[in-house]
Symmetry: C2
Subunit: 143 residues, 2 copies
DNA sequence: CCTCGATATTTCATGTTGTCAAGCAACCGG
DNA sequence: CCGGTTGCTTGACAACATGAAATATCGAGG
């Protein structure tokens, strides 16, 4: 049993909190550079990989589908996404990134500095260690 | 130079993204259990440590001071926080957690499972390693 | 085939968070 | 005491988020 007041655990949690905060900052900042909000950037990143029904976007974002309607509306209004009918189910609308949307998502990924800057100080061996620790932390050790 | 497409770096970034997502989920969930939003919970956590001027809350949250007004308004309306005059500067209002606010913040901290659950699988030595790597990643090696 | 319940999306009402500009009160240096 | 700055609030507005109700479609059972 890990006592809640364990100084080491507390410190790690604090550090993770800092990582989370910084990640968000950079994400919002990168999105803003393309005149996107964080939510719009997230959806666009999803759609740039594959088209998907509104309902699935909501699941990924962990929010209500009615919310997604508005976000996709705004992406669509700017020509970054579009709605297509699903040939298999006429209830479903498939949201997809347009050409321009895919390009924007690409730029976004590139300008997301968090990938390189903070990790640059770590050697490959350290990065491997970090990867393994994060994996275990997230419980991906199961198979 | 670290190539952007480095598979290891990419994987670590993905893992961090997952950590960030999970952290947020749990934070919002824990806040919701006390009928608080994430922003309210964050401010309450700050205030439970020490009273501070509105302006400083805004700095910590990285948002406009006018935004903080509303959040503290809602906390105040529920008796979790209060505004006190600053004896040294009559322009300043010190926001402080009430008794009940402090108690709520305490419960919040406890119900924030992220502290223990995911780290439980790591040995103390591994946690130390993780701490050191995170520290270096965040550039705290500077002294 | 037809109806009934379930599903996918949207619309509407409402609340919270966030920005920005404008306003007021209080501080401070000359 | 005056003028500029600082701290906070207010107002208008956009985005995000939820929940309830409306619409259209699907699918299974009668």
């Amino acid at each position: 049993m890990v006592p809640r007041t364990d100084a080491l655990t507390r410190e790690v949690v604090d550090l993770i909190g800092t990582v989370v905060a910084r990640y968000h900052e950079e994400y919002e900042e990168a999105a803003a550079k393309h005149s996107l909000t964080g939510a719009q950037a997230k959806v666009l990143a999803l759609l740039s990989r594959e088209a998907m029904p509104m309902r699935r976007i909501a699941q990924q974002l962990k929010c209500e589908p009615s919310n997604v309607t508005g976000i996709v509306d705004r992406l669509e209004a700017r020509g970054l996404a579009e709605r297509r009918p699903d040939p298999d189910d006429r209830r479903v609308k498939l949201a997809a990134a347009t050409h321009e949307g895919t390009a924007t998502a690409e730029h976004l990924r590139e300008s997301l500095g968090f990938a390189r800057e903070p990790l640059a100080d770590l050697s490959p061996a350290e990065r491997t260690t970090l990867r393994d620790l994060l994996r275990r932390m997230l419980g991906e050790s199961a198979p």
